[in-house]
């Protein structure tokens, strides 16, 4: 644990000394010549993987290489929704593993990630939606994942701003509520993992872009070329989100990924008005309120592949149309900021957490539009996969071969949208 553990006493003591004795929460590391393992990508998934490699597998001579600054990619750009109510058993196991880690993460890391299980309510607007939602609820319960059906009046009681008038364009016919779902503070997840990993000796190296791989005659990885020089390592894990294709092409590995811009936006901050997370797959909008008071709103990806980290305004306009119809109170709110992130999408909208055909090279990618919720679970099973050179039982189905063998985990079809 860090030299400066956080507690109420430490806060009081440092307040008394006018907060002058705080130290940086992690070192600014320079790359060493060689590491036992390297993680490419300093987002939540990469930093988390480094943390679990050090904590649970005893690998402390490791580095996280980040092209920009840690948590500056999709970790800092998402809408922070956490849930595990996925249809298929493989997905439910993975996302619920993650949710269980979220529940104790602040205590385990000694860093407040502000996990708030305020409930995630997914609306049903058509007869088909109602049937699909109920099927999801039954499937979730079989997998030990909580999910309840709410009639429109119950949904309104749980989320008072919701408009359940039957005369709107997409009337609310009911909702599926996962009470254990909620939100967390996105930056704190990256910082918390970085601080805890650093305390165990992990080097976190920012402004260090991977530019190539060195491999031996058998094809196995020997190390990475970077913007800060060559670094030797026989075990390399790639957690590069939207840029996974770009990184892995340097090692001659092709993956079934396409990178799309995904946008989000926030309103001006207002007093607490919105007690939960509401999502609608049919009209494709989701909304929650941050602890700062901003309404955090997101929707689907733009139509075309891109690496620009921006998107078109008509996507946001479409989302806001839906939000204003469902929550008429919010029509007069001004929007403060919007931004985009680049998400790597697989054909079945399920991730890939696996060994690659290149010995010593591992990949954790394909999280598409829903990777934040999976951060702890993904990092945990990816660290296992890297340390033992074999997948954890939870991520075994999320291999690359499933596309060849036809064992898709088709959450794309299950949710009818990217999720």
């Amino acid at each position: 644990m860090s030299k400066q553990p956080f507690s109420a006493l430490s806060l009081i003591w440092r307040a008394a000394s006018r907060h002058r004795s705080w130290q940086p929460q992690w070192r600014k590391a320079e790359p060493k010549k060689a590491y036992d393992a390297i993680i490419v990508g300093g987002g939540g998934h990469g930093l988390g993987a480094a943390y679990y490699l050090a904590k649970e597998h005893g690998l402390t001579n490791i580095a996280v290489l980040e092209k920009g600054w840690i948590g500056g990619g999709n970790t800092g750009r998402n809408t922070t929704i956490i849930r595990s109510n996925y249809l298929f058993s493989e997905s439910a196991a993975l996302y619920d593993h993650s949710l269980k880690l979220w529940e104790n993460l602040s205590q385990v890391l000694n860093y407040n990630v502000m996990f708030s299980p305020r409930g995630v309510m997914m609306l049903a607007h058509t007869v088909h939606d109602v049937q699909v939602s109920k099927r999801h609820i039954h499937a979730n319960r079989c997998n030990g994942v909580d999910n309840d059906w709410l009639e429109p009046e119950e949904a309104k009681a749980f989320c008072p701003p919701l408009n359940i008038d039957s005369n709107i364009r997409y009337p609310v016919l009911g909702a599926a509520l996962q009470r254990r779902g909620g939100t967390a503070r996105h930056d704190a997840v990256a910082w918390g993992y970085a601080r805890a990993a650093d305390a165990m000796g992990v080097d976190i190296i920012e402004n260090c872009e991977v530019t190539g791989f060195r491999r031996d005659t058998a094809g196995a990885v020997l190390g990475v070329e970077t913007s800060q020089g060559y670094i030797d390592s026989r075990k390399i894990g790639v957690c590069a989100a939207g840029h996974t294709s770009v990184v892995l092409q340097m090692a001659g590995v092709s993956l079934p990924l396409e990178s799309f811009p995904l946008q989000a936006l926030v309103s001006e901050p207002i007093k607490p008005i919105f007690p939960c997370v509401v999502m609608s797959n049919t009209i494709h909008a989701y909304i929650s309120q941050s602890d700062k008071g901003e309404l955090v709103i997101g929707a689907g990806t733009d139509a075309y592949t891109s690496y620009t980290q921006r998107g078109a305004l008509h996507i946001n306009t479409h989302t806001l149309d839906a939000i204003c119809e469902l929550f008429p109170h919010f029509r007069r709110l001004r929007m403060l900021r919007n931004w985009g992130g680049i998400v790597d999408v697989t054909p079945d909208r399920s991730p890939i957490i696996a060994k690659t055909p290149v010995p010593g090279l591992y990949v954790n990618c394909g999280w598409g539009t829903g990777g934040f919720k999976a951060t702890p679970g993904s990092a945990h099973v990816f660290a296992w996969t890297m340390a033992r050179d074999e997948p954890h039982p939870i991520n075994a189905p999320f291999n690359i071969e499933r596309f060849r063998d036809g064992y898709l985990i088709d959450e794309a079809a299950a949710a009818a949208v990217a999720h």
């Binding site: 092709s254 079934p256 990178s259 139509a303 592949t305 596309f403 060849r404």
Partner: protein, 101 residues
Amino acid sequence: MLIIDCPYCGRRPEIEFTHGGEAHLVRPPQPAELSDQDWAAFLYMRSNTKGIYAERWRHARGCGQFFNALRDTTTDHFLSTYKSGTPRPVVNTTPSEEGHS
């Protein structure tokens, strides 16, 4: 919003179009003879290029035609649009202001 130069109708806003994925993917003439690996590659593998990318668009809320485009995925500038069935044009790699979003 992108402004897209349909080869049949001229410059129109992006909302008139649907994106058709990567261009110049040829369906294997004898799918039954392919290995599973090759069939998966045809179905799922995409170049996902960071840079100049050949893609299909359909002018769905216009003439209805499919056509191809070259776009720089680092800037979203279009370098060229051309009719389906014609070869990928050779363009100089400096993005033009034509079709600037």
